[in-house]
Amino acid sequence: MMPAQGFGRRYMKAFLKGFFVAVPVTVTFLDQVACVARVEGASMQPSLNPGGSHSSDVVLLNHWKVRNYEVQRGDIVSLVSPKNPEQKIIKRVIALEGDIIKTMGHKNRYVKVPRGHMWVEGDHHGHSFDSNAFGPVSLGLLHAHATHILWPPERWQRLESILPPERAPVQIEEK
């Protein structure tokens, strides 16, 4: 029969051991591999949040795919907002470095995306705070690639990397 004090101490030791394994592994997984997030706002309608404020989509964010900052035109990505570092925004990649893009509402009509940068836009033009407002963004702000919608269940789907044809770059730099 174990004395009560001994049992408490053994439980504590087991708990701490488990804690120091579970917390770093979980945190590392959520930072480096994948996590989920709820999308707010209407800037990506109709691809995300078509119901507006009634129901927010929950998406799967894949960090592992962007660990080398490799994105394709048409990907939906999350990034740190260049105007507010405490906030993450989710937009579609329209152009990569070297492309010349025709802007919608930017102060310059045509913009060449500098090296190490990308041009992002929300699907809902006019209701989106994106590169048309703040210009090309550095790839270093890239957070994750949104690959699937997980919730609500009737909207389970894989998010395709489609570039709207009317938003294709005017000139693509061949590597």
């Binding site: 770093p24 590392t28 930072d31 740190v80 260049p82 105007k83 500098p114 550095s138 270093g140």
Partner: protein, 166 residues
């Protein structure tokens, strides 16, 4: 025989994963040791000096004017730059190079910082590529640990007149 080897391998992998995750959390959320290279921060930091960078200030948004920070390079996200914060959002900064005669200034946009190296003659910084978003900052250098004759906290900027608080 094979089972015990397999068991030992799995245990080794498990420990490696566990300590790797602890190391990642320490580097990401607390701080780490960094070796700097390049002449852009002389005389405060020489090339091949080893410094300690902490990441807590970045997470708590407590970076201040005069801090030396490590950030991802805006034109190459896989490499890091090490510069001093001259202006925070809203500050007025002078954008001309030391060789220019006409002094021009601009205001640092919201969510951005203006960086300059201490070695103004030999530094590619915000005077060249403009202000960088705060989100690119990785950590703040707080202590120099090598060479030992220069051990300790880092000096203030030798270019004090560059600061402008308006």
């Amino acid at each position: 025989m094979l089972r015990s080897i397999l068991g030992k391998t799995f245990r080794l992998l498990g420990y490696t994963l566990q300590y790797g995750c602890i190391a990642h959390c320490a580097f990401e959320y607390v701080g780490g040791v960094v070796m700097c290279s390049g002449p852009s921060m002389e005389p405060t930091i020489q090339s091949s000096d080893i410094v300690f960078a902490e990441n807590l200030s970045r997470h708590f948004y407590a970076i201040q004017r005069g801090d030396i920070i490590i950030a991802k390079s805006p034109s190459d996200p896989k490499s890091n730059i090490c510069k001093r914060v001259i202006g925070l959002e809203g500050d007025k900064v002078f954008t001309h190079s030391p060789s220019d005669y006409l002094k021009s200034h601009s205001y640092v946009p919201r969510g951005h910082v203006w960086l300059e190296g201490d070695n103004l003659q030999n530094s590619t910084d915000s005077r060249y590529y403009g202000p960088i978003p705060y989100g690119l900052i990785r950590g703040r250098i707080c202590l120099k640990i090598w060479p030992l004759n220069d051990f300790g906290f880092l000096r203030d900027s030798p270019n004090g007149h560059r600061f402008s608080d308006e």
